[in-house]
């Protein structure tokens, strides 16, 4: 039983950086380039882990704690996420609040570490991160609350394992709209294209990347890995909506799940290829729009 429960977590820990490769390869394909090799994110992390960290004299313990605490929080969040019919390691009523708080705690510590450096540039990034985070978080909670309401269940694993197939049979439109909402939340939380450009490292427009400018070596590796895991978590929330409800062998479920993650990766890559980054004041509109959609699905009483 325990080994079975560990499978989704191991998959996440192993394949999370690969999801970034899928996005990069998709973007490269549409731009007519070859793109970085599939294992590049792993190599980056290994390279960073082999380096020494340099700490500025102005920083305190907060700066060192930031990457560690946020990585731990996100890893803990993995234990809550259901995959197909495999039972999760942790499940209790209301655990989606715990998930949201773990992600928020990760964000808080990255922001605190950025503020700790005393650089105004990083403080600006932190301010933007918090601004968008404050908008995205209610949307995420509202979307999960909608799922919970329609499924009449209160823990992530029961929502996804018994509630979602039930909603599919009654009103599939709810799940399709929620998948869209989760996708917008994913794009915003992971600094993907319409919200933030992950490839611009020295522009004034960037949000997430600017906060980690002062981190180096293992700290940066932790942050990179944390971001890959975060992307994985949000993609899991989407893929979970489309997992087949029938009882399948574990291997097949994993294969379907990984294929679904690949599809989400390609979808992110496509979005980034087709859309330009939104102007800063347009981003709240996108997020608020997604929030409205989830309020709307909450309204849909299915009789």
């Amino acid at each position: 039983m325990m080994t079975l429960m560990m499978i989704p977590i191991c998959l996440a820990l192993c394949f999370a950086p690969l999801l970034r490769s899928v996005i990069n390869k998709t973007k490269a394909f549409f731009a007519g380039r070859k793109g970085p090799p599939w294992l590049q994110p792993y190599r980056d992390i290994r390279k960073l882990l082999g380096k020494d960290a340099v700490y500025s004299k102005t920083t305190t313990w907060l700066f060192r704690a930031g990457p560690l605490v946020s990585l731990t929080g996100v890893m803990l969040a993995l234990t809550l996420l259901p995959m197909g019919s495999i039972p999760t390691l942790l499940a209790f009523p209301g655990d989606f609040l715990f998930l949201a708080y773990l992600l928020a705690q990760g964000r808080l510590f990255v922001v605190l570490a950025a503020l700790d450096t005393g650089s105004s540039f990083e403080a600006m990034g932190a301010s933007r991160e918090v601004q968008f985070g404050a908008l995205t978080e209610p949307v995420l909670l509202l979307a999960i609350a909608t799922l919970s309401h329609h499924a009449s269940m209160f823990s992530l694993s029961s929502i996804y394992q018994t509630g979602v197939p039930d909603i599919w049979s009654r009103a599939p439109i709810i799940l399709l709209i929620l998948a869209l909402v989760f996708f917008v939340v994913l794009l915003s939380e992971n600094s993907r294209m319409p919200v933030d450009d992950p490839t611009t490292h020295l522009e004034l427009t960037m949000i997430h990347e600017v906060m980690v400018l002062d981190h180096g070596g293992p700290d940066l590796a932790f942050i990179e890995y944390m971001q890959a895991l975060k992307l994985w978590i949000f993609s899991t929330l989407i893929v979970g909506l489309f997992m087949p409800s029938i009882e399948l062998p574990v291997g097949l479920q994993c294969a379907i799940f990984l294929a679904g993650m690949g599809v989400v990766g390609v979808a992110i890559g496509l979005t980034e290829t087709m859309m330009a980054r939104l102007r800063m004041e347009k981003v709240p509109q996108l997020i608020v729009g997604a929030g409205m959609l989830s309020v709307f699905t909450l309204l849909l009483e299915v009789f």
Partner: protein
């Protein structure tokens, strides 16, 4: 069948919400097309009994007009006056969206309160019809440009037609004919009006008309 109907109605409500929150005219036309096709195809989904040839022809006509002709006319007109990329809503984006959401909530509440002689196929049918009518009205009120107001008018008529379908009116042919005639004449009259306004003033912004003096 009810699940499919609920999904269709939820999609229509979504389209309503998007109509109020998007400002670019091109997107509005796409949304209108989706709405027109869905509402035009609704009678085909609802009726089980075989249709008379006349009723059948009328449904096809309605589908063709709502789903193809009106959006196409609006597209042609907006291309001519190069409106496609502009937005013209008088309200800020978030306010318009919140207002639309509020209206939809109100319609869902109202739909649950009203009791119909024949209960509709889906509990969302009445809210969707009411919301479409109100959204059409909102579009007419909150948009500056004459062409967007025409679009709002078409949306409003779509809503009336959906209301007719959901009320199970006996003489559905009459309702259909009535609304279709309304819209068709309406669109043509407005086409002529817009042409004349443009000839006279070089602009279709209704705010400028309010400054006219005798």
């Amino acid at each position: 069948m009810p699940a499919r109907m609920t999904s269709a109605m939820a999609t229509l409500l979504c389209v309503d919400l998007m109509l109020i929150s998007f400002s670019r005219f091109r997107i509005l036309i796409y949304l209108l097309t989706v709405q027109g096709i869905m509402i035009g195809a609704m009678p085909f989904l609802l009726r089980d009994a075989p249709h008379s040839l006349f009723g059948y022809g009328l449904m096809v006509l309605s589908l063709g007009l709502r789903g193809v002709v009106f959006p196409w006319l609006l597209l042609v007109a907006s291309r001519k006056i190069k409106l496609l990329q502009q937005g013209d809503c008088v309200l800020p984006h978030a306010t318009a969206m919140a207002l639309g959401m509020g209206l939809i909530m109100y319609c869902v509440w109202l739909g649950s309160r009203l009791s119909l002689p024949v209960p509709p196929m889906s509990s969302l049918m009445l809210p969707a019809a009411l919301a479409t009518i109100l959204m059409g009205l909102m579009l007419i009120v909150t948009r500056r440009h004459a062409l967007s107001q025409v679009l709002g008018y078409v949306v409003l008529e779509n809503g009336i037609s959906l209301l007719g379908i959901s009320l199970h009116v006996e003489e559905e042919v009459l309702v259909e004919l009535g609304t279709l005639l309304d819209v068709f004449v309406g669109v043509f009259v407005m086409g002529v009006m817009i042409y004349h306004i443009r000839q006279e003033f070089d602009a279709l912004d209704m705010d400028q008309l309010s400054e006219l003096r005798e």
